[in-house]
Each structure stands twice: as structure tokens, then as C-alpha cells.
């Protein structure tokens, strides 16, 4: 089923989100995955490599995932508990960058926009231009080839700063901080859901019927899908399955569709 997915690194970050979205653990090989009515949650482990591997496998198993929000704690020169959303994700090691396409302001969460710098190990550096984390670049590197940059975002809550080192962070404090990200996640989920998808259900059903009844090579299937969609657009309805099936084989069907496409044009 098509659903968005929240990605956290650690169980301590996941707990309040699992409760809030009423998620249940799903037994999946090599993944810590939770599922619910409207959203999934993947717990990808600590560090960008683990995050990339986990997201890769997850998107392989759930290719219909509609969007991804990386949520977690992070360090920055900001007050503890500040919720930020990434306008840029930069990998410190490679200097590779990603720019999530931000939702319209009026649909955007009320969170400060910051550049997230993904580092390989926890650090005590808190430059004012960065928010420091350890997973975002791994998540973006795995997610962005499959989902476009309007559909992958990162939301962090500040857990440590110059005055409050990460070494002193109490585990009890993390769920309390993570709770603050929920309005931001909800708003982002809403904004991303408004990205319209094109309804191709009618042609997909016809295509499935044709290829399950008659033999089409891979290349013929590819061309068939394209021609059915184009003809459906031009005729405002899909061609009849019965009349196509009556043509008995792939070659005849293609010849028929070619002739039809040749003869139709839009009317304005």
C-alpha cells in the first residue's frame, strides 16, 4: 500500500512517534519497521551508512512509498527543543548536497529552516550555520534516486548545544524532545499528500488484462503501455478490451493501435 514513511535512527527517538501514530512492529528481515493506517516508521540505526543501507532495502521492499521524513535529535547553536527543517543537507565527508524542494510557505511547518551537516561521529562543534546529525545524508542518498526532492524532508529537534553537550544528554529527555516534532511531521505529511498523482488506473487495468491473456515481449509491453495511455488520452476513454483481445496477438494489437493513433488528434 502507498504510504509515507518516517525514518528515525534509534529506538529512543521512535518511541513517542510509534505511540502517536499507533504503529505496530512488522517482522521484516533486516529492517526495524513499524506500520500503521496512514504512515510507516523505519528505524534505520545509527550513522549514515546504516541509514543508507536500511532505506535502500526499505524502498526495495516498499517501492510504493510516497514520501519520506527523516526525524531525529541533532546538535546546533540553538536553544534545546528548537524544531528545525532542512533546506539543505550536506555530507561533511564528501561535501555532497541535497536541496529538498520546500512546500509552499502557507503549507509549511512553522519550523526554522537550517542546513543539516551529516557528520560521521558525534562532535562538539556548533557552528551557527549548521545543524549536526549523523543520518540525513545517508537517507537522502538512498531515497532521492527513487523519490523526488519535494518528497524527502528532514526534521530535527535540537538536543545538544555548546552549553549542553551531547555527552550529558539524558535518555529520558529524548522522547520529550521528539514529541515537539509531531506538529511539524503532521504538517509536512499534509503538504506532501497534496502533490497530485495522475490517475492511470483505467489504462493499467486494460494493460494488465492484455498481457495476462496474450503473449507480449518486454519491448512490446513497453510500447503497449505507451500506446494505450496515449490513445486513452486522445479518446477520453480506454479502447475496448474485448475488441483488442479479439485481435488475437500482440502484432495485430500493435498494428491496430498504430492505425488508431495515426487517425486521432485532439479537438480544441
Amino acid at each position: 500500500m502507498t504510504k509515507p514513511c518516517i525514518i528515525t535512527a534509534l529506538p529512543i527517538e521512535s518511541k513517542c512517534l510509534v505511540d502517536n501514530y499507533r504503529l505496530s512492529f512488522v517482522k521484516t528481515a533486516n529492517l526495524n519497521l513499524y506500520d500503521g493506517d496512514k504512515v510507516r516508521l523505519l528505524q534505520c540505526g545509527l550513522g549514515k551508512l546504516s541509514a543508507a543501507a536500511s532505506v535502500n532495502l526499505f524502498l526495495h521492499l516498499y517501492p510504493q512509498t510516497t514520501s519520506i521524513i527523516n526525524v531525529g535529535i541533532a546538535g546546533a547553536d540553538l536553544p534545546i527543543g528548537t524544531v528545525v527543517m532542512a533546506h539543505t543537507i550536506r555530507d561533511k565527508g564528501s561535501n555532497r548536497k541535497w536541496y529538498p524542494h520546500l512546500p509552499e510557505s502557507r503549507n509549511s511547518p512553522k519550523a526554522e529552516l537550517k542546513e543539516i551537516l551529516t557528520v560521521d561521529k558525534p562532535c562538539d562543534e556548533y557552528k551557527s550555520e549548521f545543524v549536526y546529525d549523523m543520518e540525513a545524508s545517508g537517507i537522502f542518498s538512498a531515497a532521492c534516486p527513487r523519490l523526488n526532492t519535494a518528497l524527502v524532508h528532514s526534521v530535527k529537534v535540537i538536543s545538544d548545544n555548546v552549553q549542553n553537550s551531547w555527552t550529558a544528554l539524558s535518555k529520558n529527555k529524548v522522547p520529550e524532545l521528539m514529541l515537539k516534532t509531531i506538529p511539524c511531521i503532521d504538517q509536512l505529511l499534509l503538504a506532501m499528500a497534496s502533490n497530485k498523482t495522475i490517475d492511470q488506473a483505467a489504462t493499467t487495468a486494460l494493460f494488465d488484462e492484455l498481457i495476462s491473456t496474450l503473449h507480449f515481449t518486454q519491448t512490446e509491453q513497453h510500447a503497449l503501455k505507451d500506446k494505450l495511455q496515449r490513445l486513452t488520452n486522445l479518446l477520453d476513454e480506454p479502447p475496448s478490451a474485448t475488441s483488442l483481445l479479439n485481435l488475437k496477438n500482440a502484432k495485430n494489437i500493435h498494428a491496430h493501435l498504430d492505425a488508431k493513433l495515426e487517425s486521432v488528434a485532439p479537438t480544441y
Binding site: 512546500p103 502533490n195 492511470q200 488520452n233
Partner: protein
């Protein structure tokens, strides 16, 4: 415009400051090079088109380039330049959708460097006239209230009598043109299509009627105007559509004073088309049968020729042959 990326190198440029003051609520994000954002992988043109960001950048390298061979209106030396990449309009046939990964708008703020390059190109041809086309990778006037590029450009062309400027547009933002004196070496060229095609395929653009009204106002004000019937689209009712459009246009303009009319077929590089149909799988226009030749897709030669022939005949009934510049030969 609620997100504006600004290259660090131009953060203090006066023009950047002026543009930013127009969008006080925008989220301003500092970047190193515009290409980092604009050419980044995994962008979706269609999704971004709903909410494009503005990128303010500095144009390095060549700013003025020779036009493709068919792109001219009778001049011998033809160049184009783009102070902006992408367009606020959303024409389903627009090649920019296939050419760029991003639908964000890029505005290059170093206008003076464009003007220097234009003057240098012009000087290469001595006393001979050269033509400079604006609006190749964007619509020249659509974002003028924000960029004020054309205003600055006209100030320059006023001083370059051997250089001619074509401002290609579908925009009716002409207040600024009407508030200054027309200059003889500039043509304001409108792309025109029949109203039902405007409504169906040229999203967010001004209606045909509004474009004609703008043309008429510009003509009355002394500006040279050009008409660009490009691309001519295939339709079951094509002849009726185009006949109505020509009637409407020629009825309202002073035809003997039209500087130039060009006529162009619907053509797309194959690679651009492939990307466009993936972005808009439901598009009727992109669903019509197209024929491939030399990495370009177009209607089959017979259909294309008959569409162009019909239009050409109607055009030449009204204007003189020396006002007419077909982009391809019509047989």
C-alpha cells in the same frame, strides 16, 4: 515566490537587495552556485512547477550565443541571450520542461555583463546590423516587474543603432513599455495561438484577446510589433481554429505596420519529448503521433506541411512576403 536561493557571491549585489525587498516574507537560502540547486538530480519539474523557487545568480561565461539556423527574422547575424532560465507560464509544448531538471526560475543579476557582450558581438559586424533575441529560455516580459531587465536592456539598445532587439513574450505586462518612447531597433514579438489552444495548453498565460489588445496598444504607441505563430498544433478542428485566430489578429492590428510574422511547426528534440511525456502522461498534445527524424520529433511531413500551408496562405493574403519568415520551408 516564497523561497529564494541567493548565490553567496552576489548576496550584496544591489539588484539582489532590490529583488529581495519585493518578497519580504520569502525564505532566503544562501547557496554557493546556482547549478547546485538548479541542476541537482531527483527533481521533478511538474511538482516544482506548482511552487517554484527563485534562484538569484551570477552568469559566468558566454552570455550571448548564435541562434540555431532557422531562428531569425531576415537578419544575417543572429544571437540570443537569456537573463533568466524558465518561465512563470506553463505551456504543455514548451521545450524547457524537457531541457531542465528544475522548474525553479533562475535570474542572472549581472545585466551589465550581458550588455557588454551584446555590444562586443555587435561590433564584430561593423556597420552591418545584428539581431539579438531575448526570450529563448524564458518569457522576456513575464517577470519584468521583478527583474526590470528589459527596461535596462532597452536603455542599452537605444545606444546601439546597429543592434536590433527582439523581445519575445506572451505577457501583457507592457505598462513599462508604454511609459517610454518606442525605439526603432526593437521588436516586441508576441507568440499567438487560437484561444481554445491557449486555454488548453498555454496554462497561466494571457488570453489571445488580451495579447491582441497589448499588441494594439504597443503598435499605437509606436513600437514595432512581431507575430510569432509557433508552434502550429494539430487538431481535428485546426483550420477553423487558426482561421478564427488570424481573423481576430489581422482585424485589430494595422497589418502593413507589422514588422514580422513567423510561422513554426511543433517540433521537439526526442530526448526532451521522452522526459515531457513522463512528466505529463495524460497530455493530449503530447499523445499525438509524432515522427522521428535526426533526433527531433514532429508531426508527419504531410500533416505538418498541410497545417503550415493553410496558415501561410492566410498570412500572405494579408501581409507582404517581406514581412513573413517561415521557420521551415512550406511546400
Amino acid at each position: 515566490m516564497d523561497t529564494i536561493y541567493v548565490e553567496n557571491a552576489i548576496a550584496h549585489h544591489a539588484r539582489v537587495k532590490t529583488i529581495l525587498t519585493r518578497f519580504p516574507k520569502a525564505r532566503v537560502i544562501a547557496i554557493e552556485r546556482y547549478t547546485d540547486v538548479f541542476n541537482a538530480p531527483s527533481q521533478n519539474f511538474r511538482t516544482q512547477k506548482a511552487n517554484p523557487a527563485l534562484i538569484l545568480a551570477y552568469k559566468h561565461g558566454n552570455k550571448v550565443l548564435p541562434t540555431p539556423p532557422d531562428y531569425h527574422i531576415g537578419g544575417a547575424h543572429n544571437y540570443y541571450f537569456s537573463h533568466m532560465l524558465n518561465c512563470i507560464y506553463d505551456c504543455r509544448y514548451c521545450f524547457l520542461q524537457g531541457m531542465y531538471r528544475s522548474a525553479n526560475y533562475v535570474v542572472f543579476v549581472n545585466y551589465e555583463d550581458f550588455f557588454t557582450d551584446i555590444a562586443e558581438q555587435m561590433q564584430q559586424h561593423g556597420e552591418q546590423e545584428s539581431w539579438f533575441f531575448s526570450g529563448y529560455d524564458c518569457d522576456s516580459l513575464a517577470l519584468e516587474p521583478v527583474t526590470e531587465f528589459i527596461a535596462a536592456c532597452l536603455d542599452q539598445f537605444e545606444k546601439l543603432p546597429c543592434a536590433n532587439l527582439e523581445i519575445r513574450t506572451k505577457s501583457t505586462q507592457i505598462r513599462q513599455l508604454l511609459s517610454r518612447q518606442a525605439i526603432p531597433n526593437c521588436v516586441i514579438a508576441y507568440s499567438l495561438s487560437p484561444e481554445p489552444i491557449v486555454a488548453a495548453e498555454e496554462h497561466k498565460t494571457a488570453s489571445l484577446e488580451k495579447r491582441i489588445t497589448a499588441l494594439k496598444a504597443l503598435q499605437d504607441h509606436g513600437w514595432k510589433v512581431g507575430l510569432r505563430f509557433d508552434p502550429i498544433l494539430k487538431a481535428t478542428n485546426a483550420q477553423a481554429l487558426y482561421a478564427d485566430m488570424f481573423d481576430a489578429v489581422f482585424e485589430q492590428l494595422e497589418t502593413s505596420k507589422i514588422h514580422s510574422i513567423s510561422l513554426g511547426p511543433f517540433r521537439l528534440p526526442t530526448q526532451f519529448y521522452k522526459k515531457m511525456i513522463r512528466l505529463y502522461p495524460e497530455s493530449k498534445l503530447l499523445s499525438t503521433n509524432l515522427t522521428a527524424s535526426n533526433n527531433m520529433l514532429s508531426y508527419d511531413p504531410e500533416t505538418e506541411n498541410s497545417l503550415l500551408k493553410f496558415c501561410e496562405t492566410r498570412i500572405l493574403k494579408t501581409v507582404k512576403p517581406d514581412q513573413y519568415f517561415p521557420c521551415v520551408s512550406v511546400s
